[in-house]
Amino acid sequence: MKQDSTKRYEKLREVMGNGDIDRRSFMGLLGAAGLVAGVGGGIMTTLSRQALAAGTELHFEGWGGIVSEALRKNAFDPYEAKTGNSVIDATFGGEEEVLTKLKAAGSIDGHNIIHSSGIAWYKRWVDNGYASEINEKNIPNMANVMEAVLKPFRAVTPDHLSAAPYDYGTTGIAYNTKYVSEADAKAMGANLLLNKELKGKIGGWGGDWANRAWYGALQSGQDPNDITDWDAVWDKVREHRGLILKYWSSGAELMDLLAKEEIYVTEAWSGRVAALQAQGHPIGYFDPKNGLAWMETMFVLKGSPMAEAEELLNFMLAPETSIAVAEGQKYPPALDPSKVEMTDMVKGLPAFDPTGKLDGLVFRDPVKWNEVEKDQKKMWNRVKKGA
């Protein structure tokens, strides 16, 4: 490409000399040729730089923002400095998107570790054949992870883990203390979201069918992990739908709606409410009885370079890294507070359990939920649209 451009300059200058081309168009062409050479050259250098980079590349995908900044500073950079491997971190819009891509591409090229939500997704990755086998001996920091958190994952894959648990939180109910008293809120529990007096001032998460169904179960008096009457669940969801201002679809939107008093009550992610409270907004938060708890893992996809991935997970699970990430995203780390000293900020986070046993939290039973997912998710997508 470069040679071609040089030839073209030469030709052009010849033509110039003969007076065939006026000065202006010459400069224009020169500019264009320069652009092509520069751009071509730029790409070539980038490519060769990539080819030259020694060591293994690990691809990490997560939620971006504060989380990736904290990981970059506390885990990725030290890891790269120590091992010579490189970590390429990217932001996804959700795990469905990653699964869509993997399916379409037919390989895990460019994907190794995923910041994955909940046991349900853990099971989904395993069921789809992406389960790697982690050798826990290579991750000394895994010893600090709460046994209570590890247990449900070991139930899905008894012989080995495919992911390291990383953080947890709850989806409880947030309310604006200016308009709803704490006593009222707690007395009504999950039915606060069906309070007709608040019509048009209620919100709900539109992004996850299981979250919606969980609350429908609570409102219809069923055990969310043992739903028998799905019609009753969806009736409650329809009732809720008739009262809401809108279904929010991201944490940014949730915070915006609450902060601007567009809505007074909604179910909400504990970490986002903590962030609002930290900014001084009058938002209260509580977990209703049988409220939904979840945890997030760092899932390693099958086919990834395991030794390198394990070492990286060890860096990520180091107490200082875990705590820095927790303070950034406002979800407590999966480390056991009885083994690792937490900062005051972490101790003050909603859903934080100082005992390290997580007895008060109810997680989704992946077997029960995944088996009905195909039909009920379709149902939810319809109910959401008024069917």
Partner: protein, 260 residues
């Protein structure tokens, strides 16, 4: 004249409508509070400082710029070639070809995105920057074709024929006669292409190679927690560059012209 004044007022109102959101973004770039509502609580430049410190956004910005410029270059080149063929030659099935060329606008982007991924798997080609670039070029192509073709129709063939009869070869004719006359459309088309590439989110999410972020995908990822006002600051910088640079260039040109 009264009617003209009404038209003027109406136009101003429409421009105000167009600019209201932009103005909000620009104002909030200077707002000190994070949940920047109105009234604005205090003036601050901290989001600009944070913007320049934020490597991820700056890297995404760089990727978006490179991608946008390359997309503009390729889409404009392809668009000009195709338009020349369609306008200057007798091509059988011209209508169909035009329809084909503008078809990317008609296909929902999610469909294009997933379809291309499946196709790439069939070819066992990995996602790469080149794929993303090709994809963006294709999405931008219809707009370039529409603009360039329109202008080309307006350029009279006689100019080109005159050049040819004076002994210029086809290439010379193109570069010295057609292209200069076409320049406004080329510029408009390139601008359009750049803009479309710079703002595309739906398809980019699917096509981008691992580890590459463009500004929109970066913002999309930030939505889960909360979008920081740094993004407003970035918008401010973009607008200053895009309006400021041409205005300044025009001003300088006039200044020097007067000196001479």
């Amino acid at each position: 004249m009264r009617a003209w004044n009404l038209i003027k007022i109406y136009t101003v109102l429409v421009y105000i409508f167009m600019f209201a959101p932009v103005a909000v973004v620009l104002l909030l770039a200077f707002n000190s509070s994070q949940f920047g509502g109105f009234p604005i609580e205090g003036f601050s430049l901290r989001w600009f400082a944070k913007l320049f410190e934020n490597e991820a956004i700056m890297r995404a910005f760089e990727t978006s710029l490179i991608l946008g410029v390359l997309t503009a270059f390729f889409a404009t080149t392809l668009g000009i070639l195709a338009s020349l063929a369609l306008v200057r030659y007798k091509v059988p099935g011209k209508e169909w070809i035009t329809t084909l060329l503008i078809s990317p606008v008609l296909v929902p982007e999610t469909v294009l995105a997933v379809g291309l991924l499946i196709f790439l798997r069939w070819l066992s080609m990995p996602r790469s920057f080149a794929v993303l670039l090709l994809g963006h070029t294709m999405i931008a192509l219809p707009f370039v074709v529409l603009v360039v073709q329109a202008r080309l129709v307006g350029i009279r063939k006689e100019y080109e024929e005159a050049a040819r009869s004076l002994g210029a070869n086809p290439l010379q004719t193109f570069f010295q006669v057609t292209l200069p006359l076409l320049m406004p459309a080329v510029f408009a088309g390139a601008l359009f292409a750049f803009t479309i590439s710079f703002d595309n989110i739906t398809a980019t999410i699917f096509w981008r190679p691992a580890g590459s972020e463009t500004v929109p995908t970066q913002i999309f990822g930030m939505l889960r927690n909360s979008v920081s006002p740094e993004i407003n600051a970035l918008g401010f910088v973009m607008i200053v560059i895009t309006v400021g640079v041409p205005l300044m260039a025009g001003g300088l040109a006039r200044y020097f012209a007067r000196k001479r």
